[in-house]
């Protein structure tokens, strides 16, 4: 079940449309450089009990766009929703006496829990790897800081690659090619995938503008993903009154077992 979380549209869009119209009349190239804006109609999303992943729509505007470049489709936009960073341990199994055992491990201290990307075109068509590295943009280019560098660069590289692959396999690092669409010359819509196991916390939405493969501008906005009332109360109870919570869990289990006997009456 996909729920569409529509995050609203802005006055900026209308403004930029007007600008574009004015510019189109003159032969002069625009003096002002292009800029990009995104807007969220809300700064928080609640996860309710029937949450099973969702699409997040972000609207944005491209200001001072060159109509010629625009018509040739040489503006590219990449929108990223990055989850909170947490330390992660990557472990590697080795065979010892026939048994597969975790032997090596590498810890990375700033791994975004989730990383959802939407782009106008496939990443490799927009610009080259060097640019992505510099911007730390894309699941393969996020900068991961190792806790210690004693293992040597090639080992760290190996664990880093494994981490990215595992994150992609779990659906937390996703990429949606064609997820950003231009609605008009200056107005665009980005549709990002929120995984069913998306972490709660402060997420950062960022939009990158490229023209002819050259990075022009970046903008960002914050989005809080929270548990809804009931889920949040359970979470708080488990953490603040953990002993009572445990007793309640046992009592609930006993009541369920007893009710089951009454309902089924099977002897």
């Amino acid at each position: 079940m996909m729920r569409l979380a529509r995050i609203g549209l802005l006055a900026a869009a209308a403004l930029s449309l007007a600008c574009a119209a004015v510019r189109a009349q003159g032969p002069m190239p625009p003096v002002n450089p292009e800029s990009i804006q995104i807007g969220l109609s809300t700064d928080r999303i609640s996860i309710t009990s029937n949450f099973s992943g969702a699409d997040l729509t972000i609207f944005g505007a491209l200001d001072n766009s060159n109509p010629l470049v625009s018509r040739q489709g040489r503006y590219d936009i990449i929108v990223v929703l990055e989850g909170p960073a947490r330390p992660v341990v990557v472990r590697r199994k080795n065979r010892i006496l026939g048994v597969w055992i975790n032997t090596q491990s590498e810890t990375f201290i700033n791994v975004p829990v989730s990383y959802s990307v939407a782009t106008t075109r496939p990443l490799q068509d927009i610009t080259d790897t060097t640019n992505y590295r510099q911007l730390a943009l894309g699941a393969d280019n996020i900068y991961l800081e190792p806790l210690e560098r004693t293992a040597g660069a090639s080992t760290i590289q190996e664990f880093e690659t494994a981490l990215r692959q595992l994150k992609k396999a779990s659906g937390l690092y996703v990429e949606r090619v064609g997820g950003v669409q231009f609605l008009t010359q200056s107005l665009f819509r980005a549709t990002l995938t929120l995984a069913p196991n998306i972490p709660v916390g402060t997420h950062k939405a960022r939009a990158f503008l490229f023209k002819n493969g050259v990075f022009i501008k970046e903008t960002s906005a914050q989005l809080a993903i929270l548990k809804a009332g009931f889920e949040q109360s359970i979470f708080l109870a488990a953490h603040n009154n953990s002993f009572l919570y445990g007793l309640f869990a046992v009592a609930l289990a006993m009541v369920t077992g007893w009710l089951g006997r009454i309902i089924f009456k099977r002897d």
Partner: protein
Amino acid sequence: MGIYLPIAEMSVNIVVLLAMGAAVGFLSGLFGVGGGFLITPLLIFYNIPPAIAVATGANQVVASSFSGTLAHFKRGTLDFKLGGVLLAGGVVGATVGVYVFALLRSVGQLDLFVSLLYVLLLGIVGGMMLVESVNAMRQARKGVSVSLKRPGQHNWIHRLPLKVRFRASKLFVSVIPILVLGAVIGFLASIMGVGGGFIMVPAMIYLLKVPTNVVIGTSLFQIMFVSAYTTVIHATTNRTVDIVLALVLMIGGVAGAQYGAKAGQKLRGEQLRALLAALVLAVALRLAFDLFVRPANLYSLSPLEVI
């Protein structure tokens, strides 16, 4: 149909969970095992984080074993005195187990230790039960009446001091082996996140010579209290009991357990034991497979434990 788990912080399919609970509940009612040794690996297989699977599995076992205990209490196949002595040992064993659990985790090889323990115990217990029950079935077919309780045939256990009479079980035996058995089960339960019925049922039958009909009710009685104790400990120390996940599993499990208990009455003792042995061996093989066969992915991720 999705449901969001507030502690596991993920969304899962409620129908899959209900089916999982029902299947495990049926088996738990049938064999008198809590089902922890099935539900915990199943949850991990379904991508629930292992810490949450272990703690929530314990919570689910409370429901199914309570339901089963009530059924056996009503039928009169429950020895409270024997269960109480087992439980006293169990609480001591579980408390020691929790400390060992923390120690192993700090060393960093808890998963391996738990898997090896599972394979070893399930393999031995399952193998022994299978051999015994197949022999019994073969003899029954030949027309020889078989009874596990052979009068006059007593082992060393029956020569220990501090003998107590257990009327419901028709036993006159020392409390020492019962306390030790309870403690071993409690210890294993808290380390492996299971109730321990798969070890207790055969141990009671083969070592203590408790009649098969009383064994199941009594072991469920002990399992219920040990898993309740484990649930509270996990909730307070690790905060890994997901009550929403547990409730969904319980609803499926309680329903399944009622049918399981009824189906169990239609089967003969040795048939039940052969089926349980096959199930136990299957789980052991599945876990051994993970230990000895090259995993599809050598790498795994886990959050950094703040110690």
